[in-house]
Amino acid sequence: MADDVLFEFLHMEIVAHVYREHATREDIDKERVTCVSTLEVMGFRVGQGLIERFTKDCPTFKDDLDIMKFLCKDFWSTIFRKQIDNLRTNHQGTYVLQDNKFALLTQFSNGKQYLEEAPKYLAFSCGLIRGALSNLGLESVVTAEVSLMPSSVFLCCRWR
């Protein structure tokens, strides 16, 4: 089914709406922070909802790493049609998830063009991760970095 396309289009419209809604209100820096956090919170809610359905019939996870592996394989591939390419951890609560061809950025560029626009299109997905983890009992802070489109790195720090 082609609904991954529907989601991608909807995501673009949401980003456009959030930026239009808040653009007229505050100053530029405040606007950016507000928009990014609005998108992140939306992603958070969706992530929570999604993970509930995913894990209904699954056995419980044995540890944090197990949860992160599930996120990188099953969760990511159901949403973005591919797995996370690389997962690294310091075994002290920090996880680095690398997606070399992040689905929501592939339409933009291969390289540095539009790099400054990338954060807008990552905020929702950061929320997705944070929401999914939250419902699995892991409170975290999730941020993302892009240095070369469409490769994205999601940094997930668990806080106790």
């Binding site: 082609a2 609904d3 396309v5 289009f9 419209e13 969706v46 995913f54």
Partner: protein, 184 residues
């Protein structure tokens, strides 16, 4: 992994509606002026329709690329393609095509339920029309890109207590020139 991914779309859509409620409720202008609920609903409808329209305008390219469906020769063929190919492809359901007008320019798509709202809880006192508007916009936008001006509306909605969800589509006219479409 899930068998299909429509939940992602509907959950995301639900989050968007919740956000809209917040956005418009905080708007002082809205509060100051007319009946708040009425204006809010109208704004939501328009917003959804225009967002849906934007989606439809792009979706049609994707659809034409994936489906290898050729040019439709008449409105009946269009109806069949929408119901049996497009709906199936994007929402995983096949509505039935019925209630043709005598002139053959109007028909209904009957769905067992509203496909956008299977997993979404409606915020209080927000009409289900909100959800339906998006779908209408998508259909209108997509068909406009293939030179067809149509009117799309919801005639019945399970969310309103009707037994089925009915989308009514009416052919208005053929669009002769390829006018550039502005983003709204």
């Amino acid at each position: 992994p899930l068998k299909h991914n429509s939940e992602l779309f509907t959950l995301t859509y639900g989050a968007l509606v919740t956000q809209l409620c917040k956005d418009y409720e905080n708007d002082e202008e809205v509060n100051k002026q007319l009946d708040k609920i009425l204006l809010f609903r109208i704004s939501l409808l328009f917003f959804h329709f225009s967002r849906g329209y934007n989606i439809g305008v792009r979706l049609i390219e994707d659809f034409l690329a994936r489906s290898s469906v050729g040019r439709c020769h008449d409105f009946r063929e269009t109806a069949d393609v929408i119901a049996k190919v497009a709906f199936k492809m994007y929402l995983g359901i096949t509505p039935s095509v019925t209630n043709w007008s005598p002139a053959g320019d109007e028909f209904s798509l009957i769905l067992e339920s509203n496909p956008l709202v299977d997993f979404v809880e409606l915020p209080d006192n927000h009409s289900n029309l909100v959800y339906s508007s998006l779908l209408c916009g998508v259909l209108r936008g997509a068909l406009e890109m293939v030179q067809m001006a149509v009117d799309v509306r919801f005639a019945q909605d399970t969310l309103r207590g009707d037994n089925v969800t009915e989308i009514r589509m009416k052919f208005i006219k053929r669009i002769e020139e390829n006018l550039p479409v502005g983003d709204e």
